[in-house]
């Protein structure tokens, strides 16, 4: 069992999650040439080593996350929310908590 530290729920079994896909894929603009879409939809790096990939905590908070994982050992190096805005909000919340801690505990 792979144990994935969900940024929202803590460490959980990977059976709670579903694997999305390779997170390094960047989709082109809607009006980009067909070749650019062909690359994004069909061509893969297929790394044997550390890669970024998306997972969804389907049987938990249902949030999408980006996991940095080794495809040969299954070791997980980092996890962050997939959406930058959510990540920022989490960081902001942490800052607010930190400030309130400092205020309460001078």
């Amino acid at each position: 069992m792979i144990r994935i530290p969900c940024p929202f729920c803590g460490v959980r079994d990977h059976s709670e999650f579903v694997y999305g896909s390779d997170a390094s894929v960047e989709y082109p603009a809607l009006d980009a040439p067909a070749e650019a879409w062909l690359e994004a939809v069909f061509q893969r790096e297929n790394i044997d080593g550390v890669q970024f990939e998306t997972w969804q905590h389907l049987h938990g908070c249902r949030m999408w996350i980006v996991v940095e994982r080794d495809t040969t050992t299954h070791e997980i190096h980092s996890v962050r929310p997939a959406h930058r805005g959510v990540e920022q909000a989490l960081e902001d919340e942490e800052k607010v908590r930190e400030l309130s801690r400092q205020r309460d505990d001078p």
């Binding site: 069992m1 990977h14 694997y19 390779d22 690359e39 069909f42 893969r44 790096e45 040969t72």
Partner: protein, 422 residues
């Protein structure tokens, strides 16, 4: 090298089994070959065999980083069938099944091909209609199949869960009587022995570590046993195709490496005469009984990308649930072994046997979760491609450009997501 026969078995019984030769030589690699095949799995060995036999190309080496047949050749459930529906696939897999039917005679090696029938259960009227459409389509290209109603199915396969409380109530089955199983090791050994008799060098423990190339040609392979130069090269390393592709600096491929598990139980007395398969809702399961009595079965791939040749526990649970839901009598049977192989999952679930951006490099890859049944035809058409430098009409859409042409061969209609083609 001696021919195997009933007489040779009898004679060796009399002389204490001392009359058997080596099955294949263990040669040192030469520095030059006409054709080098990377990967001594079933596809690579079959390719070498048909190169020599059909096309008279004998100056061939098959390089293997481990032992012959130690990859996916020994990590499958040995199911053979040709009930494919898409154009291209239909002709290809039917050709493969025809080769299987004569393979033991062809190779003078008993591959234990057993045409015990492949039974796909269906669980609703609409699934029956879909199966009828598939089997009618197959008949267009000379393949065959039958639809069984529930009574026929009960008569032939009595132990399935037909009860009123069945998790997956059974409605009937689509059956291909000519389908079956074979002994995976015997296929590898048979092709290796056959190729070796034609003069092919099978070089084990010889890992490709680098590729020497010019702008349009692959000129040589650096290996753990020295530099090997070659006029033509074929890659047949499903599971590790992307790694070799990167070594040759050829960029990206429409392939992801995933892993597929399979299981075998302790040996039982004869219980199941056929291959039984079902897929409904979230369940996917296939089972047969080996000649030694073990129940061989498997289900879905592990869902996440991996190069590790080991499986994970959620799928063990998944497959065990499928097994007991369809064959409740297996509830107290113990598992003997389980294993995982790394599979090339392609973007449409179909394979590649094609030319590449380099003039003298040819690719055999993308066998998804079903490469075993394909291996004779895969070798047959890959050898033809390498020898004649053009694809046979049957495999004309097994190329890397089919996505650009919009000619995806998506048997399941699952879309461009490799993990969904398991």
């Amino acid at each position: 090298m001696s021919r195997y026969s009933a007489w040779s078995v009898f004679w060796n019984g009399l002389i204490g089994q001392k009359g058997w030769d080596r099955v294949w030589r263990d040669p040192e690699p030469k520095t030059d070959y006409d054709v080098v095949i990377v990967g001594a799995g079933l596809h690579g060995l079959a390719t070498a065999y048909y190169l020599a036999k059909n096309h008279g190309v004998n100056n061939v080496a098959v390089l293997e980083k481990g032992w012959l047949g130690s990859g996916n050749a020994g990590r499958n459930t040995t199911i053979i069938r040709s009930n494919y529906m898409m154009p291209g696939n239909r002709q290809f897999y039917e050709h493969s099944l025809k080769l299987w039917e004569n393979l033991s005679h062809e190779l003078n090696f008993n591959v234990m091909f057993s045409q015990r029938a492949h039974i796909s259960l269906f669980h609703s009227p609409s699934a029956r209609d879909a199966a009828a459409r598939r089997y009618n389509t197959m008949r267009l290209t000379g393949s065959d199949g039958e639809l069984w109603d529930l009574d026929t199915l009960k008569r032939n396969v009595p132990h399935l869960n037909y009860g009123p409380d069945a998790r997956f109530p059974i409605f009937g089955a689509a059956v291909q009587p000519r389908a079956g199983t074979a002994r995976h090791d015997a296929v590898a050994w048979g092709y290796a022995r056959g190729a070796d008799q034609y003069g092919v060098d099978i070089i084990q423990n010889c890992e490709v570590t680098g590729v020497e190339r010019s702008r349009s040609q692959l000129t040589g392979l650096q290996t753990s046993r020295g530099l090997i130069r070659c006029k033509k090269v074929g890659f047949a390393v499903a599971g590790n195709t992307s790694r070799l592709w990167r070594m040759a600096e050829l960029g990206r491929l429409p392939i992801e490496s995933h892993k597929l598990q399979a299981f075998i139980s302790e040996p039982l007395k004869p219980l199941l005469d056929q291959v039984v398969v079902f897929g409904v809702g979230g369940a996917h399961f296939y089972i047969s009984q080996s000649d030694k009595g073990g129940m061989i079965f498997g289900g879905d791939i592990d869902w996440y990308k991996s190069y590790a040749q080991r499986g994970n526990l959620p799928i063990v649970q998944d497959v065990a649930e499928c097994a007991t839901s369809i064959l409740p009598c297996l509830g107290r049977v113990r598992l003997l072994r389980h294993w995982a192989g790394v599979t090339d999952m392609s973007m449409d679930g179909s394979a590649f046997i094609c030319k590449t951006p380099l003039d003298n490099l040819f690719l055999n890859a993308g066998w998804n979760y079903g490469g075993f049944k394909a291996s004779p035809a895969s070798g047959w058409f890959f050898a033809d491609l390498i020898a004649n430098d053009r694809p046979d009409p049957v495999i004309v859409n097994y190329d890397l450009q089919r996505f650009a042409r919009g000619c995806n061969i998506d048997e399941r209609g699952a879309g461009p997501d490799p993990k969904l083609h398991g």
